[in-house]
Amino acid sequence: MASGMVRTRIWRDILAGCLLVAVLAIVPALIPARAFQDFVIRCSSMALFATSLNLLVGYTGLSSFGHGMFFGLGTYSFALLMQRTGVALPVAFLLTLLITAVTAVAVGAICIRLRLIYFAFVTLAMQMLLHSVVISWVGLTGGDQGLMGGIPRRSVLGVDLGLQYNLYVFSAVVLVAGLLLMRHIVNTAFGTSLRMIRDNEVRAAFLGIVVWRVKLTVFVLSAVFASVGGMVMSLFVSGAYPELINWPISGDAIFAIVMGGIGSFLGPAVGTMILLLLNDVVTRQTEYYGLALGLIILAFALGLRRGVLDFITERLGGRPAGGIS
């Protein structure tokens, strides 16, 4: 019975995802605004990144301040593989996932044994370390100038991602697939273990959960999803730049989670949309972007006291899916 309900939920999610992709694919025929397509591509990249961070922050209670290292690693690994080797895009995509996973195992093995602020700061230190490597290794990464020269052979199964519409649909598909997978993860028994660890780590251990293994697994999984976001960004900017692996990018994901809602699965994606919209609108109006954005975020924090989606869910009488009220 229970497994039947789970299957129904999975199919419902897949159907909703397919519908979203179909709608997005049709939109450019009705509204030929290329800026909208750009927005969706960027949003896909950052939403995957922010949602992957929420697997750690919202579901496991691990506040990583250096999650951007995996986003950046995704952009650099993918761009370098495409530029320096002759592999096809799907192969570069899979190899990037592998590189990220291996790196995440190494970083996670050091970090996950630490708790609270120590975990946060060691992840931040790791990101700063990786950023320094990128800046210093000029021969490989281009240093502070970034990896120049564009991404060659941008085609998947004969579809040229150099064309904006194709990249737009590809990004939407990747976003939906990524979100569906992450949603499935948090709804499995493994997801329940994550919430148990977040709520009471000692009790979870007493119940037989091998805490470090679960933490390491979710750390690696979230890193892999972040790197997928990084690869989409790499295709959008046609390269890789040190700003994409520097620590403020982790701050952007944290902002997105806080604004969208830490307790709702789609909260980080909603937060990303708000953040990017604010960025685009505010940048058009003023050069004092930081000041304007700071005031708006302050208004969100003091006015709603939680993320937008958490606020709406609670107003509708529900409880955020992540279980945080």
Partner: protein
């Protein structure tokens, strides 16, 4: 009934009038059909001077063009956007300017990393773009990075390195300077520029030996450690690629240690007015490139441009970026007129090999070189600092024949030819 009808008419009249007045700006705009030019740079943060002094170079030219009937009979409407110094934002802004704002041409006053991101967007969209501030040579020198509709109106790093190498070698020979130290910012620009300078210096003065190299961090507030290290190495000459605020801080702190009397100093970025006027006690005798000065070229036209710039920009000093941006829009103006349209390919064809009159050249003309889409024949030279205006004297202009010859050698060496 009649009263109702009258009321209805009134309402209709009011509604029609309201709709008309609301639509008026759009109708007027459509009729005027302005030519939108997207201009992006860094207008916020620590290097906002790049954006403000670039805008200072663009806007008077736009006003001049508009006052004389516009370009192709259309008034230019500049759309300024801030990239905040982030390459991914620079790429987004470039796309937005073309796709959303309807800009037909792009003027990019981004720093090099932003310019490389814009270059990829330009390659995708096929819009005409002139990079007006990026000096990294590979942007146009490397055929793999070049884009068919992208050009550069800024000076190029390798040109500066050649002229600097020739001038410094002459001074080194004359004063028997063989022991050299370097002090440059610790990132790609600083390391590349220093390597290129030493390469050309040693080409002309093979006896030169590097005895100490320091790489301070960008924005480093305290240079004591670096200055002590340089003084301990006892070099006869020092080369530094520091610039802007870092350079001012380095000069001010070096003065305390009497460093500038102990060795001959070569600083290419010294010859820019914000630095020359920003240093507390400008030491005499520093060898520097001329980035922009009203005294080089020493012509009435250059002096007049300088005065006009300051008048139009709250008495601010023009920077190196200002003349590069003014040159960029002048080249764009001439090419669009020649092509008779704003089509990327058409204007690109018109720009290739285009020569225009320029106050920023010792010959009175600058050319957009066809083979690699980069500016040549602009004023480039080295001089010696004095504490008062005009700040740089005995400016020796670079020889463009020699620059072209050595640049070709350099390109061959790097596999660009």
């Amino acid at each position: 009934m009649r009263a109702n009808q009258a009321a209805l008419l009134n309402r209709r009249t009011v509604l029609a009038a309201s709709a008309g007045s609301l639509a008026m700006p759009f109708i007027a705009r459509a009729q005027a059909n302005p030519l939108k030019i997207g201009i992006q740079s860094i207008f916020s943060g620590p290097i906002a001077l790049l954006g403000t002094s670039s805008r200072g170079g663009f806007q008077p030219e736009i006003d001049r063009i508009n006052a004389t009937g516009g370009l192709l009979g259309r008034q230019i409407q500049p759309v300024y956007r801030d990239s905040k110094g982030q390459p991914q934002e620079a790429a987004r802004v470039a796309r937005e300017l073309v796709n959303t704002d309807g800009c037909e041409l792009l003027l990019d006053a981004e720093a090099s990393s932003g310019a490389f991101a814009v270059q990829e967007v330009v390659r995708d969209l096929g819009v005409l773009c002139i990079h007006c501030a990026a000096e990294t040579s590979s942007l146009t020198a490397d055929p793999k990075l070049r884009a068919p509709t992208a050009f550069r109106s800024a000076r190029q790093g390798v040109h500066d390195a050649i002229v600097g190498g020739v001038h410094s070698a002459k001074v080194a020979e004359a004063k028997k300077l063989t022991k050299w130290a370097t002090c440059s910012p610790d990132y790609a620009f600083g390391r590349d520029t220093t390597a290129q300078f030493l390469e050309f210096l040693k080409h002309f003065a093979p006896n030169v030996e590097t005895v100490s190299q320091s790489w301070p961090k960008l924005g480093q507030p305290d240079f004591t450690e670096v200055i002590t290290k340089i003084l301990q190495a006892r070099p006869q000459a020092l080369y530094s690629a520091l610039y802007a605020g870092d350079l001012s801080a380095f000069i001010n702190q070096g003065n305390v240690y009497a460093m500038f009397g102990a060795m001959e100093v070569f600083v290419p970025a010294m010859g820019d007015l914000p630095v020359l006027t920003g240093v507390k006690n400008l030491p005499a005798g520093i060898q520097s490139a001329c980035r922009y000065l009203p005294a080089f070229p020493d012509t009435a036209a250059n002096e007049a441009w300088y005065e006009a710039y300051r008048k139009a920009n709250n008495n601010d000093y023009p920077t190196n970026w200002s003349w590069e941006c003014a040159t960029g829009i002048r080249l764009m103006e001439a090419a669009v007129k020649k092509a008779g349209s704003t089509d990327g390919k058409g204007v690109a064809a018109a720009l290739e090999g285009l020569t225009i009159d320029s106050v920023f050249s010792t010959t009175g003309k600058v050319t957009m070189r066809a083979e690699d889409h980069t500016l040549i024949d602009y004023a480039i030279g080295w001089g010696t600092t004095i504490p008062k205006a005009p700040f740089l004297t005995a400016i020796e202009p670079g020889d463009w024949g020699q620059i072209a010859e050595l640049e070709t050698e350099w390109k061959k060496k790097n596999g660009y030819v």
